[in-house]
Structures are given as structure tokens and as C-alpha cells.
Symmetry: C2
Subunit: 349 residues, 2 copies
DNA sequence: TTGAAAGCGATACCAT
DNA sequence: ATGGTATCGCTTTCAA
């Protein structure tokens, strides 16, 4: 019988609680340690009897395989890192929740890194490497040098809503330019001719594309040089820039395109509450993202909704493929935004 | 010299990129592997010369210590898990961002688990244990049995905005009852006598406390049995329950207390947009949490703001203490909410 | 201060 | 199918 020949194990009084190991289970079940390991490995060849004995012993002892030890030998941590630049942007929580749940379904755990500023990237990467993550989803700006670090280490990387033009990187994006063009088109069709743009911060690639998409389309339509004010995606900046628009000497615009929903909401509040304008009667405002509050009745934004479910699904499956099939080619997947008409603008789809 | 007697190491053509190990560094620097290890350990005794040589070699080879191997031997993963029940609740992103950044400052990485439903807890815990996390912050309901699992494994746990009454668990909370009482008081002082409550879901401990705090205080003030409608923290539920309040036979309330800001916003929209009431002239609405949108001009909620910075700071330092000083006693820290007056209610502070 | 050697708790390969 | 043994990359005694 198992344990017969074992020397009495002296346990010190205030022993630290040591987790049960596969050796403990092996001894308890009277089998080899390798056998225990096999029983916990999905496709291993183990007899029914063996499995039964081991599993019983494991249950009795409360055995839980040590993922850290496993990772060391398999060189697979089953960990991915998610980098998010600013979680308080209303758009990201949804993305984050979707990503973690999807990874979870693949048996992969998520290490979260929230960058205070884009400058944190260096430091954050240094924190990531030691954990030997299997892959990374980055919803933050990374420089070509940073991307080089991933290549050097063969760590799969998928960008979320960013890309490095020309660089061989996988990414999933929403077509920002196209979305912006759609917004311009609808506003133009509805009769607007005087536009203004409340743009995102210059370091935001997404914001830059939304701006350039809008400007391009306006140019094509013969609208010349609309004012472009630079915001920072916050409610406050939307509010104060809209306010600025009202205080300029020139004629006020009758359509304002904002680089995200939150600034659009800020702008609406400035126009309505502070300047007593009616939207969409006096002025039209559109946003971008389709975050929850964009459909609150007080705002009911006309906006471009990003297909978050499909984008996160794509990001996860791309990363999993890159992890499971090393050397698979890079891929960029671009999804179209979905026009969500609201009552914040006179708009003809 | 190091490496002299070593057999030629045959590297296959398409070798997988193997990270540099401490042995590689040791060989390169002509020192022992232990020496390398010591150089990367904070308080170790190493001569300046040795440190210099090792660090140079490490830099040349691009050595990065393997945290997984380290964790295996030290039995410290430097990982904490954060459990959040529903990330799309506007209140949590801020909490999550704060927590991760604070842990990061302690050199601790965060494993994120976002529970779809509270029923996921079992499964989630099973996913956590194998990683041998050093501790857990739970912003999700856990049963006493679940908490027992933590004790069994000696894994430090800090509840965030929940507690298990009577159980020996550490927690940091906002005083929900007191906050609710403050809201009632201010409304009462401003002359309101007919109240209604839009409560949270019954499984939300926080929601239950906010409700009971309000009911208690109303009772003390002699207000009898205000209607209590049960919402789910969503904008939609706030909107439709407010609508219900308007369609009841009885007189409509002149003050509505909502269990969170988002429902308060929904309620405001229902009253103003759908029922053409003016708030606060015709009806007063108050919320709870102090999330970003609560201060948007269209709503400008009177609400109780949770001191998120201080609460997260407390949670992190409590958990770190429990990790670093095993056996330290449990502690509950309760912070008062901060009244944030707005224009959504007639309110006398 | 430094180096040799013994683990940490698994997996993987090789006999049997 | 099962058991023995080397190994993953570190930290940690223990001698020197």
C-alpha cells in the first residue's frame, strides 16, 4: 500500500501552507509522478483505471497543478498582455471586457497594463518581458522601435485600432477615414456647407485619421478649409472648443464633426446649455465610437459605431493563431464603422 | 576559461529563438551563474567589479531575468488578480486603472478577470489558483464558501466595496448607508416629502445598502413606505422605472433617489424628455457614485462621490501588507462618500 | 565575496 | 500504458 514505507513526516507547528504537488498525489495514489502529470494533460495516453486513481487522490488532497512550473518547462505561459493607454476613455472598458472574456474562453489569462501616458511604453514593455507572455494586444501607440522589440523576442503582437504603416505588424482596426467620410457625406447631403472639426490629440493615430478622412471628403465636396480645433477626447475639451467656435469672429459653423463621442457630447452641451442653440435645428453635431452614453436621450448622437464585438473577436483569434502557429504571416483586418443615426444632427444617410 | 571544455553546441537551422539565460550571461562574463543571479537581486552582496562585468555582459546579450523561473523557486509570483463583476459599469474603469497603476508601482503585475455573471465566480477562482497569485482584489460578490477557498490556500484577499458580514475578511468600502442618508437629509431639508427609490439589483450588496440607508432615514423622518422599484444599474432601467413612476395611479414623487448615477441619468431623461417635467423645479433626482458623466452639464447630478483614489490606495496597501506580512490581522476600512451638489435636485446641504 | 550544487514543480523523452 | 530521469531558469544554502 502507498505510504507504508514512508518515514513519518514531521510537520512544524507553524508550517507555511505548502500547496499539494504532483509528488504528493503520486505517493497518495501509489503511482509515479509522471503518471499524475499525464492525467492532467489533455491528450495523454492513460488507462481509465490510472486516471481514476489519480483523480481521486488529487481530489482528496486538493491538488491544483502549478501553472508556473508548467510554464517553465513548456515555455508557454498562457498569459497575454493587454496594453491600454487610457482606460477612462469610455470606449475601452467595453473592449477590455470583451477581450478578457474571449481570451478566457481560450484558456488564456490576461495581464493588464494601463499606460498613464504614451511615454510609459518603454517602462511597461520592460515589465512585460520577464513574464514571457505568449502574446500582446496593444491598444496604445507604440513606436517602430517598440515593435522591433517584439520581433526580436518573437512575441506575437496585435494592434487594436492602431497600425504602423509599412511595418509588418498584425492589426485590427475600424476604418476611421471611411467613417469620417460617411459623416461628412450625410451632413453635406442634409444641406450643411459650413463645417468645423473638433479633432483628437495629434498623438492619437485614430484621431488623425478621423480628421484627415473628414478633411479629404470636405475638400472633394468643395468645402474649403474648415476650422480644425484640437481637443484631447475629454468632455471638457469638447465643451470649451465648442465654446471657442462660438466666440470666433467668423460665422459659426452649422455642422461640427467631433473625433469622438465624448467631445461631441461636450460640444452639444456647450451649444445647448451655454449658448442656447438648438441642435439639430441651429447646429448639427456628430461624434465617433458609439459608446453607451451616445444613445442617452439627452444627446442621441449621430455617430459611427465601432463593431467592438467583431473587432475583439478578430483580435483574439488573430493573436491565438500567431501563438499557435509561429511564423504565420501578418494580417491587417479593417472593419467598417456602422452609421448610427441620431437626433444630434440634420443628417441624410 | 569558461566555455573551453564545452562541447560544440549544435544549433538547428530553424531554431526557435531562445531567450538568453543567466548561464549565457555567466559564460559571457566568465563568472558563475550564481553570481549573475545575485547581481539581479536587490540587496545581494556583490563586488562592484563583479556587478560591472555581469551587467555589461547582460546588456550585450540582452538578458532579461525569467520571472516565471524566479517565481517557481521563490514562491512569489508577483501577480495579483483583480476580479471585477461588470466592467461596463461606468464606475469600474476608474477603479481598475487606479488599482493597476498602483500595483505597478509596487512591482506587482495584475491578472484581470472580468466576471460575466456572479455565477462565474467558481470557474474564475479555478482559473486563478494555478497561477499562485500573491493576492486578490475582489470587486465582485463572493460567497462565504468562496472566501473559504482563499483561507484554505492562505491567499490574501481584499474586498472592494463589498464585505461579508461577520467573516474575517479585509475590505475597503464606501459607506453606502451613510451616503444614502445624506441624500435623504438634503432632499428632506429642501422640502421634499414624497419620495421614491430606484434601487439596484438585489444581488448587489452595495445597492442593498444604499436602499436600506435611504429607507431607514426616511423612516426616521416620518416618511412612510416610499415606492421602491428595482433596477439593474443600467440607463435603460433608470429610464423605464422613472417612466413607471409617472404611470402609477398614485401621486408622483417629488424626489427620486437612484442607486447609481447611470440610473439617475436615465430617470432624468425620462422625466425631462419623455414627460416634459423640469428637474429640479418639478422633480428632484439624485444618484450615487460620482462617475464622470454625472457632471456633464445636461445632467449635473447631485450625487455622492466615492473617494476612488483613496479607496484604491487603501486596497493596494492593505493587500501588499497582507502579502508581505503573512498573518497580519484583517481590517475593514470604510470611507465616507462625498456629497457633490448639482442641479438635478432641490437640495439643502 | 564567490562558486558548486540542490532544489522549485511541472513536462518530455526514453525505455520497459 | 507506465516509470525513471533529465530539464526548464532561476534562488538559495553551504563551503571555500
Amino acid at each position: 500500500m502507498a505510504g507504508k514505507t514512508q518515514p513519518e513526516k514531521v510537520v512544524s507547528i507553524k508550517a507555511v501552507k505548502q500547496p499539494v504537488t504532483s509528488y504528493d498525489v503520486a505517493r497518495h495514489a501509489g503511482v509515479s509522478q509522471s503518471a499524475v502529470s499525464r492525467c492532467f494533460k489533455p491528450g495523454a495516453s492513460v488507462s481509465a483505471k490510472m486516471r481514476e486513481r489519480v483523480m481521486t487522490a488529487a481530489k482528496e488532497l486538493g491538488y491544483e497543478p502549478n501553472a508556473i512550473a508548467r510554464s517553465l518547462i513548456t515555455r508557454r505561459s498562457n498569459l497575454v498582455a493587454i496594453l491600454i493607454s487610457n482606460l477612462t476613455n469610455l470606449y475601452y472598458p467595453e473592449v477590455l471586457a470583451e477581450l478578457t472574456q474571449r481570451f478566457s474562453a481560450h484558456g488564456v489569462r490576461v495581464l493588464l497594463f494601463s499606460l498613464k501616458s504614451e511615454a510609459d511604453a518603454n517602462e511597461t514593455l520592460q515589465q512585460i518581458w520577464p513574464y514571457r507572455v505568449d502574446g500582446v494586444v496593444a491598444a496604445a501607440e507604440l513606436s517602430p522601435d517598440h515593435v522591433g522589440e517584439f520581433e526580436k523576442r518573437d512575441v506575437p503582437l496585435v494592434f487594436y485600432n492602431r497600425h504602423l504603416t509599412g511595418a509588418p505588424v498584425s492589426s485590427v482596426c475600424c476604418d476611421q477615414e471611411d467613417g469620417a467620410r460617411q459623416l461628412v457625406d450625410g451632413l453635406y447631403r442634409a444641406g450643411h456647407r459650413t463645417f468645423a472639426i473638433i479633432a483628437g490629440p495629434p498623438e492619437s493615430a485614430v484621431g488623425v485619421e478621423r480628421k484627415s478622412g473628414a478633411l479629404e471628403r470636405l475638400d472633394e465636396l468643395g468645402v474649403e478649409d474648415p476650422p480644425v480645433l484640437q481637443g484631447d477626447y475629454s468632455y471638457e475639451s469638447g465643451f470649451s472648443l465648442a465654446d471657442d467656435l462660438m466666440n470666433r469672429g467668423s460665422a459659426r459653423p452649422d455642422a461640427v464633426i467631433c473625433a469622438n463621442d465624448v467631445m461631441a457630447i461636450g460640444a452639444l452641451d456647450a451649444f445647448r446649455v451655454k449658448h442656447r442653440l438648438a441642435a439639430p435645428a441651429d447646429i448639427s453635431v456628430v461624434g465617433f465610437d458609439g459608446v453607451g452614453p451616445s444613445s442617452w436621450k439627452s444627446y442621441d448622437l449621430t455617430t459611427i459605431r465601432q463593431p467592438v464585438r467583431r473587432m475583439t473577436e478578430a483580435a483574439v483569434s488573430m493573436l491565438m493563431t500567431m501563438i499557435e502557429e509561429p511564423g504565420s504571416p501578418h494580417e491587417k483586418r479593417v472593419f467598417s464603422g456602422i452609421l448610427k443615426p441620431g437626433t444630434s444632427a440634420q443628417f441624410t444617410a
